[in-house]
Symmetry: C2
Subunit: 321 residues, 2 copies
């Protein structure tokens, strides 16, 4: 089995590749080769039993996708994207990478004329307020960010290309990934991770929104688990609606902080500094608080059941490294 990962230098893309090196297989089939692409050369993946091609290239340039597809991978994880904060700051770049780049990739798969599994990383940012307390499976995409609009467009393309038989696509509508390891990125949702990760490291973190804000989370491990499961399941069970809201944990900032206190002690909680940011507050008001993910759950997708479990996953992760 041949695997292609776009955005392989990114946090989730690279994590998927590392896990692949550990498992060496998808759905019981041995991985022969892995192509890792990103705009910067993806860092090496240790201990892989298969061949790895690591390439720096930009999918939003014409012809690149065609070259990338020359190897006809059986599984494609399309995780390359401009994140929410940057897509809002740079309108052209967001559309170029998230829409045009995605279309180029989908077209290249179509031209290659076979039937790979294509996993598209979408986001709960496709939803925009006002919405019900729990967003249902048939609630509409009325995004309030360019990133959300671009992901919603990707979802529509994914469904249509799949319906037409150009590939076997599954869209993974990710919760906000928390706790993100390493440095903050330009995602506007980054503070949700910062207020857990930095105090755990003994560092101060800024909380730009009120404690009452409720949001929807899953760990990086769960996200990688979603991708593996999406690579393995029987596509015919998914039906024509190819985009799935993934399961997650609905928690308020206040519940997150209580959880931090339980896991790491009250002293760590004091490292959270409240500094309201009206721009971030306005964006966060338009973000989902809770989702019905029963379709994905019934297909076997699984996430943490509590925010404590999310913090636990992060601590174990840090200990491993």
């Amino acid at each position: 089995m041949k695997v292609l990962v776009t955005g392989a230098a990114g946090m989730l893309g690279h994590r998927f590749c590392r896990r692949l090196a550990q498992t060496g297989a998808i759905a019981g089939k041995r991985v022969e080769s892995l192509a890792m692409i990103d705009v910067i050369e993806p860092p090496p993946v240790p201990d892989a039993s298969f061949k790895i091609h690591s390439v720096a290239c930009d999918l939003s340039e014409p012809q690149v996708a065609k070259q990338v597809m020359a190897d006809r991978p059986d599984v494609i994880l399309h995780a390359a994207a401009i994140v929410s904060g940057e897509a809002e700051a740079d309108f052209d770049k967001g559309y170029r990478v998230n829409v045009t780049g995605t279309r180029y990739l989908f077209e290249a798969v179509r031209e290659a004329a076979y039937m790979p599994r294509l996993i598209f990383t979408s986001s709960i940012a496709v939803f925009g307020a006002p919405f019900p307390e729990v967003i249902g499976e048939e609630f509409f995409a009325a995004p309030l960010t360019s990133y959300g609009a671009q992901k919603a467009i990707g979802e529509l393309l994914l469904s249509d290309y799949t319906r037409r038989g150009f590939f076997d696509g599954i869209g993974i509508r990710l919760p906000t990934i928390c706790v993100r390891p390493g440095k903050p990125n330009m995602a506007a949702s980054g503070f949700f991770s910062n207020i857990i990760r930095e105090p755990l490291n003994g560092q101060e973190a800024v909380l730009p929104v009120p404690d009452t804000v409720r949001h929807w989370f899953a760990s990086p491990d769960s996200a990688v688990g979603f991708f593996f499961h999406a690579a393995e399941i029987d596509g015919s069970l998914v039906g024509p609606r190819r985009n799935l809201s993934m399961p997650g944990v609905s928690a308020t900032v206040s519940e997150m902080i209580e959880s931090l206190g339980r896991c790491a002690g009250a002293e760590r909680v004091k490292l959270i500094r409240r500094q309201p940011d009206p721009v971030i507050m306005r964006m966060v008001e338009g973000w989902p608080r809770n989702l019905d993910a029963s379709r994905a759950s019934s297909l076997g997708f699984e996430a943490e059941k509590s925010f404590d479990a999310i913090i636990c996953a992060h601590i174990q992760d840090e200990l491993r490294n």
Copy 2:
């Protein structure tokens, strides 16, 4: 006031231009000039009190949109599109015109850096079965045709460009337009018009679906009325959700035929020949039957209240010509 109409050789685009020649104004402001563009040169519009530029050009070619926008029209009606049947038959052409062409136009408006009203013609084809008997205002777009996917993408772009302040967009989600005058086009929904128009002309018409099929209609006059109203209303009343399901009449084929009998006599009804077409039946199964259009209604958009009124509108129309 300057007006631009794309797809001005099409049935609705040209009808809007003819109505504009009659009224000479939008929202009480005198029209100075009208640019009519289409891939074929739009037919002349008689009796206009303003200057008309009629141009054959293809918006899906780079740079064309920029030239078209040189005049900085105050109102833009973007009615150019590949219709459903053709977009399904020719995947590339559908995406090129309906998505790439639309993006070029929106980008050209953005580059011109002012704030025109832009009216986008969308369609109930953005919805795909299964859906509730009445599709609510927040029901999701899960189209089952490429045309529907392309229109849903246009809606997302319209909302995002409007949110970013690049133009003041309103998306008009049209019911199936019935009775279409003239020759059938490649829209898969064409038979809904044929079974009324052809018998009224003493001609036989083919009905490819069962009498029990229910669908959602408005007359061409109502559609043009929607566009005028969209050109005139206060955009701030619309809010961030810029795409509106238009009001219409929900009727079964059987109710349509009864209506034809009432308006034109039982002999005309006999001209309808039942000839089931599995391909069209399969497409029609995925089409909406009834919609909640209360947002549009509360903004003052109006359609016929019965199918009799739709047939009446057609008969008056034919008498006028």
